[in-house]
């Protein structure tokens, strides 16, 4: 892979003019309310910009909604039905999905926009690339599916349905109940948050790596190394295309898994 070769070369050159991307990118200096719970830095600002963008887009669409749709309205309806039908109703069924629809739609469009800022020039940073947002999203889903399960079945039956697999020899439960408990209460939320966070963070780092290496080879490296900039740029471009997919895919996966977990919690069959 061009990117890996480039990365190796780059490390050797790191002592000179090359700036390797680091986690510090995700924790830029605060410029407002420093030290308070409302401390504002670049990443937070990007989140707010993405939030405003998605809210404005959805609100404008909702405001201009007509019986006979314009192209814009049709496209938005297509996207909306992808979420309402393709994700929520196909997983949970029409009746059950109704109650959770606002959450699922907000999660999908929110994550999509918070992700996509990493591909937008001058923003260049995913709002979901800092762990706080994936954790909050996961927490909401986590609370929702446990709450929904308990509300649906009562605490006792919910725990029984969640932890005890039917049709298993009694002795196996000694092993299976802890496994199910860890799955439902620890692994599921943990993976949900980490999957989104890690994808966004690493994708961003890869992009920065490729493009800063390209810049380095082109302007700072010794003569004869300029050739490598083509490889690193190609690698960066490939990653960019990949990220376009990942941005949508992660929003889809997060929303879909939210539906799956909620459905598992409120369904009788397990």
């Amino acid at each position: 892979m061009g990117t890996l070769n480039a990365a190796n070369t780059m490390i050797q050159a790191a002592e000179s003019g090359f700036h390797a991307p680091s986690m510090a990118e995700f924790f830029p200096a605060a410029f407002l309310f420093e030290g308070t719970p409302f401390e504002m830095n670049r990443v937070m600002l990007i989140r707010i910009i993405a939030t405003v963008a998605v809210v404005v887009l959805l609100a404008v669409w909702a405001r201009r909604m007509k019986l006979i749709p314009s192209r814009f309205q049709s496209a938005m309806e297509l996207a909306m039905e992808f979420v309402t039908i393709g994700i929520a109703e196909d997983t949970m069924g029409k009746e059950k999905a109704k109650k959770f629809m606002p959450l699922i739609v907000a999660i999908f469009f929110g994550i999509l926009f918070w992700n996509v800022t990493k591909l937008i020039p001058f923003l260049n940073m995913p709002g979901t690339g800092v762990i706080g947002l994936p954790i909050v999203l996961t927490l909401v889903v986590y609370v929702t599916y446990h709450w929904a399960g308990i509300a649906e079945k009562g605490l006792g039956r919910y725990l029984k349905d969640s932890l005890i697999l039917p049709g298993v020899p009694p002795l196996m439960h000694i092993l299976l109940i802890p496994i199910e408990f860890i799955t439902k209460f620890v692994t599921q939320p943990f993976t949900l948050a980490i999957r989104l966070f890690a994808n966004m963070m690493v994708g961003h780092l890869l992009l920065v790596l490729c493009f800063s290496a390209t810049s380095f080879f082109l302007f700072d490296a010794a003569n004869g190394f300029q050739f490598f900039s083509i490889l690193t740029f190609a690698g960066g471009f490939f990653v960019f295309l990949l990220e376009m997919l990942v941005v949508v895919l992660q929003a889809y996966i997060f929303a879909l898994l939210s539906c799956v977990y909620i459905n598992a919690a409120i369904s009788d069959d397990h």
Partner: protein, 186 residues
């Protein structure tokens, strides 16, 4: 390698898996805003539009069905009227034929009666003339017979030659008399 680099950098800024408070706060604020807008405004509008559209399509289908039914009814009515018209025409034709036949029969009967009347009047006229002729003949035959008898008596009846001459003369007299004075009404 880069991952080492990244981890080293991460350690200097703290564990990237542990969120800062402001990170959580802004995340919650952003999510809450998106959630509220979707929940209170976007989804209701979306569902309303879909429902209205479904209703409109439903209404359209029902209207089309209604119009179809009306068209069917109109067609049936039209066909019924057509059939009625045909029946009426046939009835009128039959009536006309009957009437024509009646007129012809009437005319025939009238002609017959006229002919009968003419024949009858002709016969009665003939009868009357015959009666008149009979009456005239009877009175004339009387005089003639008397006349003839006197002539026969005036002459000698024993002479056959003479008697024959008398009869001949009588007849020629009769002839000249009938040619000089023709029968009345002839």
């Amino acid at each position: 390698m880069t991952p080492v680099h990244i981890l080293a950098a991460a350690e200097s800024t703290g564990n990237p898996l542990l969120p800062a408070l402001y990170d959580i706060v802004w995340s919650a604020v952003c999510l809450l805003i998106v959630f509220l807008v979707v929940w209170k405004y976007v989804l209701p509008a979306f569902n309303k539009t879909l429902d209205e559209r479904a209703e409109r399509i439903q209404g359209g289908i029902e209207k089309a069905e209604k119009v179809q039914a009306e068209a069917d009814a109109a067609l049936a009515e039209y066909q019924k009227q057509l059939a009625d018209g045909r029946a009426e025409a046939a009835r009128l034709r039959a009536e006309a034929q009957e009437e024509g036949a009646q007129i012809i029969a009437d005319m025939k009967a009238q002609a017959h009666s006229e002919a009968d009347r003419i024949i009858a009047s002709a016969q009665s006229q003939i009868e009357a003339e015959r009666q008149a002729a009979m009456v005239q003949l009877r009175s004339e035959v009387g005089t003639l017979a008397t006349d003839l008898a006197s002539r026969i008596v005036g002459e000698s009846l024993s002479d056959d030659q003479r008697a024959a001459n008398v009869v001949d003369r009588f007849i020629s007299d009769l002839e000249s008399q009938s040619s000089a004075q023709p029968v009345k009404g002839a």
